[in-house]
């Protein structure tokens, strides 16, 4: 995955970048299956590697396939990024070890979800039970976020199309 990420950063041809990003998503989905999270892996494979690749190719079709040359050497952003990476890595050192059963997140409500979900909801897949029932408000919020994204795209692109048409008419008038 690190190799694919490096290739994405180094590549100047945007078409290869899109294809590499799809490969990255599939690798990520494989990692998630390895972590026993097939629900998330399925989402990653279908959204990250499927739909977003198609959308990025569609966007590429509109704006051309070569990355623009940067105007200045981005040393300051690089330094800021390195500092943030350092801070995040330092932060992970304080987290409990991976799959530590005594970690705070695993002793709060998780045992109850795992032991009671089947009895209370009759749904064997705990992920679905937590998502739709125990965390129903959060999922409602997510659905509204998706709805807002769709409404935003409709609002933006509809207006842009009309404005683009006006600009073409103006250009034709001159």
């Amino acid at each position: 995955m690190a190799a694919v990420a490096g290739a994405i950063a180094a590549q100047r041809n945007l078409f290869s970048v899109v294809v590499l990003a799809g490969i990255y998503s599939f690798l990520m989905a494989t990692v998630l299956v390895g972590l026993d999270a097939p629900d998330v892996a399925m989402t990653e494979a279908s959204v990250g590697a499927g739909i977003s690749t198609v959308l990025l190719l569609g966007a590429l079709h509109l704006c051309g396939g070569e990355e623009a040359k940067p105007v200045a050497r981005p040393w300051l952003p690089l330094a800021i990024a390195l500092v943030i990476v350092g801070a995040l890595v330092y932060g992970t050192l304080g987290l409990p070890a991976f799959s530590d059963p005594g970690a705070p997140i695993h002793v709060h409500v998780v045992p109850r979800y795992l032991s009671e979900a089947l009895k209370e909801t009759g749904v064997p897949n705990v992920v679905t039970a937590v998502l739709a029932s125990y965390r129903g408000y959060d999922t409602l919020g997510e659905t509204v976020v998706v709805f807002t994204a769709g409404a935003g795209v409709i609002a933006l692109l509809r207006r842009a199309r009309r404005r683009g048409g006006d600009a073409e008419e103006e250009a034709a008038g001159r």
């Binding site: 892996a41 209370e120 749904v123 679905t128 408000y137 409602l140 997510e142 998706v146 692109l157």
Partner: protein, 143 residues
């Protein structure tokens, strides 16, 4: 891309199975991995696939814009409506226990409708975004 016989035949073979898989993921989400979000994306992906092979106008005839826009709002309203149904039947907002004869079947019913709402909104939004992006390119339509 209408001239490619292999692509057309493969697409016609695959798309029914993709739709079937979306329904499987939707209704089997209680037992295996998956749920409304994944099912919505897979369903939208099958229509996107159809649009890529047979052209955007064909897909727009199959799933018209008005239907897609209705789906975008309908799913979110369905989800919120399940919550309101809980209030109407004497529970709290998004309280599924009151929806059925006993709490477990109420939970089943609530989760089913909520997941259906998620799937409808997600597939509607994905399709709408694809239509919006693809509709802006002129060559894509004439291929």
């Amino acid at each position: 891309m209408r001239g490619f016989l292999v692509l057309r035949v493969v697409a016609k073979l695959l798309i029914p199975f993709m739709l079937l898989f979306a329904l499987y993921v939707q209704f089997h989400g209680d037992f295996g991995p998956g749920g409304g979000f994944q099912a919505g994306v897979i369903g939208a992906a099958s229509v996107v696939f159809y649009a890529l092979i047979f052209g955007l106008p064909a897909a727009r005839r199959l799933v018209p814009d008005a239907a897609v826009e209705t789906m975008v709002g309908l799913g979110a309203l369905l989800y919120a409506g399940v919550g309101l149904a809980g209030i109407a039947l004497g529970g709290n907002y998004l309280d599924y226990f009151v929806l059925g004869a006993d709490p477990v079947s109420g939970q089943h019913r609530g989760i089913f409708w909520v997941e259906a709402g998620v799937a409808i909104t997600v597939s509607g939004v994905m399709l709408k975004i694809f239509y919006m992006f693809a509709g802006r390119g002129r060559n894509l339509d004439s291929e």
